[in-house]
């Protein structure tokens, strides 16, 4: 159950943090349609986070609520991957980040749908549908921008370079993952990773973008080691809630 709590919290925090980043786009999109789309994706992720956080409080025996977990944990207790906390940058960078995440989410949630854990399986069945839309949206934009104007090509390539290295954390398998894979709770990251590679390569090719090459593979999010960006995100997320201890909203 401790493994399950940790694993579920990782998924929850990924969704919470990325949902928060997308919320920062409110009323700032390049078109009104994108104002709708970015909040829509953010809302899907927020919904996933809520279900998963609630589940964490049940599984780990603490009985903490979704709000306890979202608002009253400190940075070092957040288990999201570093990719999702990276700043939005421009629209191109946001779409590049979303492509890397959603190209993971689609095969990941598809595989998680047959988890022996009924709650994770149920979350995954809903999330896989949502993620397909997110992937389609991000891929469409990455292609449009990559194969758009010279400026947009350069911008989305730069955005991709800025976030690329962080993707490796998505398929990192530590002991928790290994044990849960063996138990049939978590999907094996390797085939999911293979699908990610195929999807991303196809989108980049269609977008006339170059796949970044890097020697660097940052890591640590799954153990609560983050980039310095997360602290500011949490200050904004948590300030009001922490200012009124015990209050209901």
């Amino acid at each position: 159950p401790q493994d399950l709590a940790v694993y579920t919290l990782r998924l929850a925090d990924d969704a919470l943090v990325l949902g928060q980043r997308l919320g920062e786009w409110a009323a700032r999109g390049p078109t009104i349609e994108e104002d709708v789309a970015l909040l829509n994706i953010g809302l899907d992720l927020l919904g996933q986070a809520r279900t998963l956080l609630t589940r964490v409080g049940e599984v780990d025996g603490t009985g903490r609520s979704e709000d306890d977990l979202a608002y009253h944990r400190d940075e070092r207790d957040f288990l999201s991957c570093q990719l999702v906390e990276q700043p939005n940058g421009d629209f191109g960078q946001t779409m590049a980040r979303q492509l890397l995440v959603s190209a993971w989410h689609v095969p990941f949630f598809a595989a998680l749908s047959s988890s022996v854990d009924p709650v994770l399986a149920a979350v995954a069945r809903k999330a896989v549908k949502e993620s397909r839309y997110h992937l389609d949206h991000a891929a469409t934009w990455v292609v449009r921008l990559g194969d758009g104007t010279p400026e947009s090509h350069d911008r989305v390539q730069a955005g991709l370079e800025a976030v690329w290295a962080y993707a490796a954390e998505l398929w990192e398998a530590d002991d928790v993952v290994t044990r849960l894979v063996a138990a049939g709770v978590a999907p094996d990251p390797e085939p999911v990773h293979a699908t990610w590679e195929t999807t991303v390569d196809a989108v980049l090719a269609d977008a006339t973008l170059t796949r970044p090459v890097t020697s660097w593979s940052p890591s640590g999010g799954r153990r609560g080691l983050h980039t310095e960006h997360l602290g500011y995100l949490l200050a904004e997320l948590q300030h009001v809630a922490r200012s009124h201890p015990g209050a209901s909203w």
Binding site: Q20, G23, E24, A26, A27, R28, G29, P30, T31, I32, E33, E34, D35, V36, L39, N40, G42, L43, L46, G47, A49, R50, L53, E66, D67, A70, Y71, D90, F91, G92, V143, R144, L145, D147, G148, T149, E151, S152, R155, E236, L237, H239, V240, A241, H244, G246, A247, S248, W249
Partner: protein
């Protein structure tokens, strides 16, 4: 060979008669129907202003999206701001049925040539402000818009039906959020009262200037666009909202507010119309900030829109060549 017939306001006498009949009969004018030029212009201006209000209206609430104090409220706020963008889209589409172009309307907004509701030029300083906006501002908007869902121009009327349905949902959520605050801690209750204190009068101003200072209203009424006068709607809003404030245990910041048994309505004080005019003219607390934020989003998105256009052009050229 066509005989040139005399036209008034763009219409032949027969067309004008047909138009008048539809309006008199409470029917709907549709995009392909002949309509007076003044009617078309008035509608474009009104619908654009309405659409702009939805778009600018995302800002004061969007301001609290990253700071909402519970995940449930955060989700509600995402959905609400998203709905506002959606309303903007329907409304620009409705304007486009009258021959307007969304890009031109946005340019007019950005240039300060078209207006949006004055209410969005007030800042949201605390979480309670977002709840007060749901309760009061969406409440006032519904009061304004329900009659518009019976307005003589079909696409606008239908857009209003949909918009009002969502807004009454938002209004209930706002009221429920206020209720949670007044039933919460002392700090929360104070926050709720403060929000009401600051948003009450600006909400009353949402119905526009007093009837005797609203010269275009009569024509709009004759055309079946407007159904009630500004002052009628304002009275209705006060009649509905004052008891809600009582229920919340909050004090409406108007010493003149009291039930008048004889009239069967609440009496209430006069909004500060000088302040209203200052805000209309661009000197409200947030006019500059709102327009600047809107322009910045538009300008920073230019390269994205250009890329999408270039990409679409290239792909359709490829498709044609194939």
């Amino acid at each position: 060979m066509t005989v040139t017939e005399e036209r008034v306001d763009g219409l032949t006498a027969a067309e004008q008669a047909a138009f008048d009949a539809v309006v008199a009969d409470d029917g709907r004018i549709e995009p392909r129907d002949a309509m007076p030029e003044g009617y078309r212009r008035t509608l474009v201006r009104q619908i654009a202003q309405h659409a702009h209000s939805e778009i600018i209206g995302m800002q004061p609430e969007g301001n609290w999206i990253t700071r909402a104090p519970s995940l449930r409220r955060k989700a509600i706020l995402y959905a609400k701001v998203q709905d506002e963008a959606g309303h903007g889209l329907y409304l620009y589409s409705a304007a486009e049925t009258l021959g307007a172009d969304r890009a031109d309307l946005l340019d007019a907004l950005h240039a300060g040539k078209q207006k949006y509701s004055t209410i969005f030029n007030y800042p949201t300083l605390t979480w309670a402000d977002t709840m007060a906006i749901g309760w009061l501002v969406d409440g006032a908007a519904i009061m304004n818009q329900v009659p518009l869902s019976r307005c003589s121009y079909g696409p606008y009327a239908r857009a209003m039906t949909r918009v009002c349905k969502e807004e009454s949902f938002h209004q209930r959520q706002g009221f429920e959020g206020m209720l949670t605050l007044v039933r919460g801690t002392e700090a929360q209750r104070r926050m709720a009262q403060d929000a009401l204190d600051r948003f009450w009068w600006p909400s009353l101003m949402m119905f526009g200037p007093p009837d005797d200072a609203s010269p275009n209203s009569a024509q709009s009424m004759a055309w079946g666009i407007k159904r009630f006068s500004n002052d009628e709607l304002r009275q209705k809003f006060v009649d509905v909202t004052a008891p809600q404030a009582d229920f919340l245990g909050l004090r409406v910041p108007d010493p003149e507010l009291r039930w008048n048994d004889e009239r069967g309505h609440y009496d209430f004080g006069t909004p500060d119309w000088d302040e209203f005019m200052r805000v209309v003219k661009g000197d409200g607390p947030c006019n500059r900030q709102r327009l600047e934020a809107r322009r910045r989003a538009h300008d920073e998105g230019a390269w994205v829109r250009e890329a999408a256009a270039a990409h679409a052009a290239r792909r359709s050229a490829v498709a044609r060549a194939a």
